[in-house]
């Protein structure tokens, strides 16, 4: 581009871009922004309604899995890398966090950070070979790696080092106070979501999405695919690791079960329920999932059956997740109430 043609376009461009500064203010005035703020205030007020450890625990589990599902959504929805082994990062961080708290007596937050960083290292380790694979092959490879982790940690021969089927137990919870624990998890969820959404809207997010839409085109645009895919894997692994560490502390222990493909599927189901590439949809999916699980908790066998049916219905009637249709319905009601 010559300097001449650059200066020509300038005047026209500035008008279009001036709106981005007051973005947050505008957002808070939109329906979506208002709804988000109402939901957040609602979540902050929950402990006023109940201080019951059990009920708050349902919310906490839903928040932990919101982060986990969002980490999968980031990788799959933004970068187009569909991983079926998200539980690897979740599990390894759970183990490392538990280990540092239980045996090295580190404070929970330091252990959680170390656990998540080890998750990032695993993201790098798995990312490097997985990058050459596309689509279903990447899904298969990550799922098999998850299974390898599961059986390695379950193996009797490794029991002295990895804890065998018992794993690591008797970890203290974040706080004895259920309300305090609730708020700590809420802060973790909100922060994680803000960071993930912010990355999605950043320039790096644009590059991620370009890889998702057309990887050959992205390469022809001079984008180093390996580098960006690795970064995406690492960011995703970090947040899956945060979720895994929190999950281990919430359950006061960790066992090889966390490496099961089931946990990877949880993330996928929740993110898909909410809507892929939305990040916030993961929270909706996760809350929906855990509240429904609570409703059917009396009949644990039936609940799996009902979930499968719900998932099939969602895929059939709302393939882009329930977030968008729910938002649209709510907006209609909102407009009706305000008399528009």
């Amino acid at each position: 581009m010559s300097a001449k043609s650059l200066s020509k376009g300038k005047g026209r461009v500035k008008k279009k871009l001036s709106g981005s500064k007051s973005y947050l203010l505008n957002w808070s005035k939109t329906f979506r922004g208002r709804l988000t703020i109402i939901c957040l205030i609602g979540l902050c007020l929950i402990p006023l309604l109940t201080q019951n450890r059990y009920y708050l625990g349902i919310f906490i589990t839903a928040m932990i899995f919101s982060i986990f599902a969002a980490s999968w959504d980031f990788l799959a929805g933004f970068t187009g890398q569909v991983s079926f082994g998200q539980a690897i990062f979740f599990g390894i961080s759970g183990y490392i966090t538990s280990y540092f708290i239980r045996y090295l007596y580190l404070p929970w937050w330091a252990s959680l950070l170390i656990g998540s960083l080890v998750g990032v290292a695993f993201g790098l380790l798995i990312g490097i070979p997985a990058l050459r694979l596309k689509g279903p092959y990447l899904g298969l490879a990550t799922m098999v790696l998850g299974l390898i982790m599961f059986y390695t940690f379950l193996n009797v021969k490794f029991e002295p080092w990895l804890g065998g089927s018992e794993g690591i137990s008797k970890i203290p919870q974040i706080s004895r106070n259920a309300v305090e624990t609730y708020y700590i998890h809420l802060i973790f969820m909100i922060t994680s979501f803000l960071i993930l959404i912010w990355i999605g809207k950043s320039k790096m997010g644009t590059v991620f999405k370009s890889i998702r839409d057309d990887d050959i085109g992205a390469e022809a645009s001079g984008i180093n695919l390996t580098k960006y895919k690795l970064i995406a894997f690492m960011i995703s692994a970090f947040f899956a690791g945060i979720a895994g560490g929190l999950f281990a502390m919430h359950n006061r222990g960790v066992n090889p079960g966390v490496f099961q493909p089931l946990y990877s599927f949880y993330a996928i189901v929740m993110a898909s329920l909410g809507g892929i590439a939305t990040i916030s949809g993961s929270a909706l999916g996760s809350y929906f999932f855990w509240f429904a699980a609570e409703l059917f908790s009396e009949w644990p066998d039936v609940s799996v059956f009902i979930f499968a049916i719900i998932l099939i219905l969602v895929i059939r009637f709302a393939e882009h997740g329930i977030l968008k249709p729910v938002l649209e319905r709510l907006k209609d009601i909102w407009d009706l109430v305000l008399g528009k």
Binding site: M1, S2, K4, S5, L6, K8, G9, K10, R12, V13, K14, K16, L17, K203, T206, V207, K209, S210, R212, D213, D214, I216, G217, A218, E219, A220, S221, G222, I223, N224, L225
Partner: protein, 246 residues
Amino acid sequence: MGVILEVKNLTKKYGGLTAVNDFSFEIKRGEFIGLIGPNGAGKTTVFNLISGFQRPNSGTIRFDGKDITGMAPYKIVNLGVARTFQLVRSFKLLTLLDNISVSCLSSRGKKVAKGHGVDEYASTILASVGLVDKARIPPIILPHGDLRKLQIGKALGTNPQLLLLDEPFSGLSHEEQDVITDLIIKLHDDGVTVFMTGHVLRELMHLVPRVIAMHQGKFIMDGTPQEVAKNKIVLEAYLGKGEVFA
């Protein structure tokens, strides 16, 4: 004016088929040059080999004196060789502005975009290909002519020295062809070396001062459009052997 691209003895085989056969040519800096040949002559393969999307079986490609044979495509782009595709490619769910921003975020694009800011630089490019009014819409709803412009814009985002245009006119109406033609001429005037393919002779012949002709993967001749149009082998390649009535 030095040589910007030097291709020597390039050969690419797919199993028993030789798509490009011992192909050699040179392009000088600032040239405006066409690559012609009937369908299946190997034009796109030559572009794929130059841009690194395929590796040649033998032969070398030098850009600006540097050996780029078999280099990763994004590295070649960042040296200053951008390309478009015969079938339009776009980032379907991103806005046009973001489509261009991606190229501006490549390591070569960034260097130019730095002074202006990526968004502003991308808008400038959008303006120069005539799409600035559509900056905020995704490409899925664009007509084909606009997609061709977007292709060129995406290539420009990487600030190329050499631009490879693969069939930039295919699927366009005459009016749309004229718009793209003007755009390409403007780019060449701005100092970009342009190398383009086409299988319909008429479009290219009026545009470029020099043409390379190929047929069945082989180099046939190199010259002005008039010389090439008179060449017996070229005519045979297009029309088949026998009497030429043209």
